[in-house]
Symmetry: C2
Subunit: 193 residues, 2 copies
Amino acid sequence: MVSAPSGTGKTTLCTNVRQTPDLVYSVSCTTRPQRPGEQDGVDYFFLSKSEFEKKMQRGEMLEHADVYGHYYGTPKGPVLEHLAAGRDVLLDIDVQGARQIRGSRDAKIQEALADIFIMPPDLEELRRRLQGRGTENAQQIAKRIQAADAEMADWKSYRYTILSSSMEEDLIKFRAIIRAERYLSRRLNLHHG
Amino acid sequence: MVSAPSGTGKTTLCTNVRQTPDLVYSVSCTTRPQRPGEQDGVDYFFLSKSEFEKKMQRGEMLEHADVYGHYYGTPKGPVLEHLAAGRDVLLDIDVQGARQIRGSRDAKIQEALADIFIMPPDLEELRRRLQGRGTENAQQIAKRIQAADAEMADWKSYRYTILSSSMEEDLIKFRAIIRAERYLSRRLNLHHG
């Protein structure tokens, strides 16, 4: 799983990482309205509030959160199916969701888990990036900066931390981590010894 | 540190890895005679038996072994100096040496440590590679195969295991591991949080 405060380019990074062979992107569920250009089952699974709550009650969510009045969550079934088929799954998740998943009692999830935090260079640079993006007003940017500051305190809970520089550099580092994790002896099942 | 039975191409791999920036190759000490073309301080530090024993007694060897009547060992000083200067050090070492280093009480060594085992595809392929190399007779090859078989049992003691395929593939995997290890949160010293 990968976490990063807004403005660290995590979404672009994950979009690029999605090209990596044998890596499947976990599609989240949400109750927020579908936006123009978004595809159900690709960008999100768009659920009604009652559908989402039913899934939660059945324990079918690895993690979930209420963000500004909308539910977001990671459905457990597809993740377990991909892992069983030997595919790595990429979760793009906030620090609260990451905490929930780290606390999961599912052994398959625990075995598979590796977490990466993308650290923005500093809050000033983050502010510049958010302003440059031009999609939020000053108040929204201030709110995101505050949230980012709080999230950044969690970096030590992640096995890896990438200090964000250019998208190209971040991507090289990200891919190196994904590759290296596959060669951990504890993940291998060899017959010798 | 990297360990591999003979014939897995570890020496060629390490020679290629030596080109990696910020990675320094640890030059071993030995009491075996210098061969034509070998440079003192580059291929090995060539020491007399008494010089080597003095270093051992002073605790200046991270590990040492007596191989076919000659001492081989890793001098501690250069490794600690490189680590203090923020450089990663590559140790090309056998499984017995690796065990000694894992048992080191030096906290700087323990913190820095990451170990990789290069696993030959199988003993038959290893035999073909050794025969193809043409530098050993049948008896020497049999001895190396036997040693390799014993060494291969140790792979689980290493954090990473690379199943040797082509030199190019092995090198890509090796470099990914070295990169990824640098992004471990526990190795980073950030001010936030």
